[in-house]
């Protein structure tokens, strides 16, 4: 992927990230669902990795995390670290497994949300934030993961639609190509 070909994709990712983060901070965080707020930022990072691969996933995760930390006056680097790993992991999942199941985004979103929340809690504890480990905290994490999972599919659809056309290797296009470029078609084997 050359710099010229990846520029539109980077612009789209940046625009999507900025809109998503502002939307998250301005609207979504203020509407509690079952007592917790939906957090689309880990979903966005996971889906970036799932669509763009591990490198762009990690870079996107780092940038989105940094933006979140800057806007919310949080500990700088905290969200970046978590989202970098998250974006990289989901990108590697695509590169290694290339999952095509319809429920893949749902599972990836759930796993990503859970990893992000647990990662936050773990690093906050490591940094010495004086918050007791309680059932309430556990409940919030579980409910947060469930709520994020519920919105994973719509977020996936929006992210994929926003990046469609600029993706380096669209899975659908790849499958189509596989059947038409010889050697891989079941018909040619027969």
């Amino acid at each position: 992927m050359t710099a010229d070909s990846s520029l539109p994709l980077l612009v789209r990712i940046a625009a999507l990230a900025v809109v998503a983060v502002f939307l998250q901070i301005g609207v979504i965080s203020e509407v509690p669902v079952f007592g917790v707020s939906v957090d689309i930022s880990p979903l966005l990072v996971c889906f970036l990795g799932l669509l763009c691969g591990s490198v762009l996933g990690a870079i996107g995760g780092f940038a989105i995390g940094l933006l979140v930390d800057l806007l919310l006056l949080q500990t700088l680097g905290l969200t970046s670290l978590i989202f970098t790993v998250l974006g990289y992991w989901s990108g590697r999942l695509r590169e290694l497994r290339d999952p095509q199941a319809a429920l893949t985004p749902l599972l990836v979103g759930a796993a990503g949300s859970a990893a992000a929340m647990l990662g936050y809690s773990l690093i906050e504890f490591l940094l010495g934030v004086d918050a007791p480990v309680s059932l309430e905290l556990l409940r919030e994490i579980v409910v947060g993961v469930v709520v994020n999972t519920l919105v994973a599919l719509p977020v996936w659809a929006i992210v994929r639609r926003s990046l469609a056309g600029s993706l380096p290797d669209d899975p659908r296009r790849r499958r189509r190509r596989a059947y038409t470029t010889g050697g891989l078609s079941p018909l040619s084997r027969a």
Binding site: F22, L23, I25, G26, V27, E30, V31, P32, V33, S54, V55, A58, I59, G61, F62, G65, L66, D69, L70, L71, L73, T75, L76, G77, L78, S80, L81, T84, V85, Y88, I123, L127
Partner: protein, 317 residues
Amino acid sequence: MYDKSVRRRRAVLAALVVLSLILLTAYFGEAPGGRLHSVQRGFLTVISPIQDGANKALKPVRDLLGWAGDTLHAKGQRNQLVKQVDRLRRQLVADQAEKQSYRELLALYHLDSQLSIGNYHPVTATVVGKSPNIWYATVTIDKGAADGLRVNDPVINGEGLVGKVVQVASDGAQVSLLTDSTFGVSARLSASGATGIVQPRVGDPNDLLLQYLPANTRAQPGDYVVTSGTVSSGDDSLYPPGIPIGQVTSVNEESAFRSVNVHPLADLHNLDVVQVLTAARSSLPANLSRLAASLPPGQSAAGGASAEQLASTGGGR
């Protein structure tokens, strides 16, 4: 080619992780006025107008979502409050019933102490059924022959005479109220001592008529009417004297005999606890007769009880 790609990917990841850790460590370690904090505040200062604009632009969306959330929350709260109201209403009804029972028992206790009702072997019973028609002429109580009740035993409550027993089963009895058309009891005006017969007033289930009074009887509204302690007919019980029946509301002078309208003192619509005087026929305490005979005009009705005492037993309405 593959190795280069892998190396590049790992290098990117390592660089970003290291950068994040450096940021994290530096930010966490520096003072609030440090360089990274300043950068963060500066960024926020720059981005604030954009954020404000975005906030304003997104406010309708936020309000819409908030409205939806609030509506759902309000519905949940409403259901919760409805349940709470139901529970409190049931509790209130139970409390009111208990309060009413307590009040009636207290009134009965006062009447007992004033009229020495204990000499008539009273049996306390609870009203378990009422006649469904609008006249409320009969009620069913939860005591019967097994408790010593017999037909024609007088029935009282804390306010005064209620009626008499008309049917007895082993564990229950039917009581005919004062306002039943078949009811009649000899009574006298507490003020003048004139005697007559109290019967229900035709066409008015809430009113009684004390009739067959001598023509020269002086009566005025507010006078109390009490049982005279004599038999009005062969079938009637011998009501103990001095039990309050009602209060004169008006005087009729259109016939040879004088009659007065009497409003019953007992609230026959809200009976809960009553007493059946099971030994009324055989017992006539001398003190009751004496007290009934010495009632001061316009003052008392219940065997020497003062107007205040009557009021305390519900007789002063």
